[in-house]
Symmetry: C2
Subunit: 405 residues, 2 copies
């Protein structure tokens, strides 16, 4: 018969984060991916430039390639006239050699012909047939992007651990890189517990409900650089939980949902104590007090609350930092906004409270119903945080809203 005992030791949210930080080992397995598929991945092998970018001296402006010294003294009153010998488009090969008194028309990106050392911008010229009047002098190297100006051959362009955001994908392309070595995404087993939990798609009998947490957890895992492995529901018995834990330890992390509340937590706890160590169980937050975090054979095991809102909010608060650390991703940058509270809220004392709110015309309306209610979250735009020592926040007070993402 299930023993039912209340919680003993609760730790602060900050302490929970710190214990997670110390427990997580980033994945060091790597894989090779094409740069088309490398967006947002984390580089595992530094990128050294195998060529210069640009690969040749090129025009930085539309205009005329000239010998700079032949433009010295030019002005709109007293232009210097050069003979146009050629038009060089971007992409054209530059087998042209610029002679004395000559110029070549170039477009931005064209290679600079041999013998030229500057480009006069088109705005400072006047053309008449093949005569080009130069209205302003240029100094040597003016309006030329020299070879290697952007990236020097042999230089490190992207370091290990850097995330491949769009600009870095662009730098890889500039170097002609086809494939890069990135860290593998952590594989996270998502396991609902309880015999009442049924798969979406099956029909419900009296007393049964659909699995919600696997879907919300998988979504969060997907959005934070990891791969969710959705598993079948496990009944809340010591044997079943033990078997599931053993089988699923081949993945990088196991996230159970449900079964960590008072009624059932002893089961998962006792299984974990057989094999590993409990890092924490019980946090001074609302909703979500019963969250369990443990290590078994070096692998993190999370026991999330079964209530959908508690489970999801605790996933944002605790699971996201754990997953990102495992994926070598930088901490998530929260999107926040300021709003005024539309009505007074009262907090339970002794716990940091996370309160879901909806934003309307810059007012934050609390939408929390109860921790079982998924609609507390679907209607919310984000949440506000009430510190442990705050009991009441008055209407109209300015609050920071952390927006869901």
């Amino acid at each position: 018969m299930t023993r039912m005992t209340p919680f003993k030791e609760l730790i602060s949210y900050e302490e929970a984060l710190e214990r997670i930080r110390k427990s997580i080992k980033p994945i060091d397995r790597t894989e090779s991916v094409s740069i088309e598929n490398a967006l947002d991945r984390v580089l595992a092998k530094e990128i050294v430039a195998n060529m210069s970018v640009p690969p040749f001296d090129r025009a930085a402006m539309d205009g005329y390639a000239v010998k700079a010294k032949e433009t010295f003294g030019a002005s709109s009153f007293k232009p210097k006239t050069l003979k146009l010998t050629e038009i060089l488009h971007a992409g054209a090969s530059s087998n042209i050699v610029l002679g004395k008194g000559e110029c070549v028309q170039v477009a931005t990106g064209s290679p600079i012909p041999e013998g030229a050392d500057a480009v006069v911008m088109v705005e400072f010229t006047e053309r008449n047939g093949n005569d080009v009047k130069i209205l302003k002098p240029v100094y040597p190297r003016a309006n030329i992007s020299p070879k290697g100006e952007d990236i020097e051959e042999g230089k490190v362009v992207i370091k290990v651990g850097e995330q491949l955001f769009p600009a870095r994908i662009g730098a890889l392309a500039a170097l002609g890189t086809e494939k890069v070595e990135v860290y593998e995404k952590p594989r996270i087993a998502v396991v609902p517990t309880g015999t009442e939990i049924k798969e979406v798609g099956s029909s419900l009998k009296e007393g049964q409900i659909y699995d919600v947490n696997s879907y919300t957890l998988s979504s969060i895992i997907n959005k934070n650089g990891a791969v969710p492995i959705k598993c079948k529901a496990v009944p809340d018995t010591t044997d079943e939980l033990r078997n599931a834990t053993k089988t699923l330890l081949k993945h990088d992390m196991i996230v159970f949902s449900g079964g960590s509340s008072v009624g059932e937590r002893d089961l998962l706890m006792s299984v974990i104590q057989e094999f590993g160590t409990v890092v924490f169980h019980g946090i001074q937050v609302k909703p979500g007090k019963p969250t369990l975090f443990a290590l078994v054979a070096g692998k993190p095991i999370c026991g999330m609350p079964g209530y959908p809102t508690s489970c999801l909010l605790n996933a944002y608060l605790l699971l996201v930092p754990a997953i990102r650390q495992m994926a070598t991703l930088p901490p998530k940058i929260e999107k926040t906004m300021k709003a005024r509270l539309a009505k007074r809220v009262v907090s339970s004392t002794g716990r940091k409270q996370f309160l879901t709110v909806k934003i309307k015309r810059n007012l934050a309306y609390p939408v929390f119903k109860q921790s079982g209610a998924i609609t507390s979250m679907t209607e919310a735009d984000g949440y506000i945080v009430l510190p442990i020592n705050v009991d009441v926040v008055e209407r109209n007070q300015e609050v920071t809203v952390f927006l869901f993402d």
Copy 2:
């Protein structure tokens, strides 16, 4: 021979955004996707609850289901004793009927047996064999989540146009929904122009460079709810541009890169004027002045600058709002942070300037080299904005950094 004329009319960034807003028509094609694949998609057909959630009255706490009136007057000094007749786990079917003086042990989520109308929390009980002492009275319906408390059958749960973030995927799961109707993602043709542009994977001849913009633009498009269609480079001739435009109009938008600068812009301009209308060409921003936006047969055509940094920054500034509107997505929420400028910067007058910066110990270091340099972007963490009327920002001044994402 290419005509080379400077820009005529430049509009403000705000005016450019407003013209884009008025020009874009959201995609109204829809598709059916499984809820596993619906994350971040936009709902095209409202979700009406086809069942109640919870689907039955259930225990909101671990404890004992009782007849509330039988607990009236109970206290720790004078407990009421009830007979435990059954243990009801979550998921168990409730064919039990509670008799007078009886109680049933329930776990959070268990159905409430017939005849019971409240749950006493385990914390306020003492058990001795099958005798359960009730130490505190409960009112009727206490600690029970009634059927439909979260979602009422027949109610609209998610509206058309709402984005399916994790909590909403959870609500779909709670209702047993397998598939949802969402808007199709806009299909955006990405076309580099210029004969000097070569595919990553090919080898370069003198004067040639690798295609960078297709990769950065595709990344941005992917990250903002649309599908990039990477196309082969098109040579900068009126005929080739005309053919490409005609062929690619089957997609929802065409984004050319390169070819909108002074030297070549007239080509794309003249092609567009044959078929459609120019919405704007030339913006008072730096980098990126030459960006072109047009409508041909109702479809938006963008001409992005060829320089990688200009192209990418203009994609963040102009393309992202256009794509998101087309995808019925809310405007992107910028991630920002405050930092102090590590050194004085001077702005060009008459243009709103976007300056890439790197953050180190809360100082913002300008990393801009020149608009051709992709490393201006790979090293940057974000950018700061210098308004048109600001010429100089002093060292140590506080600035808002818009972080790349």
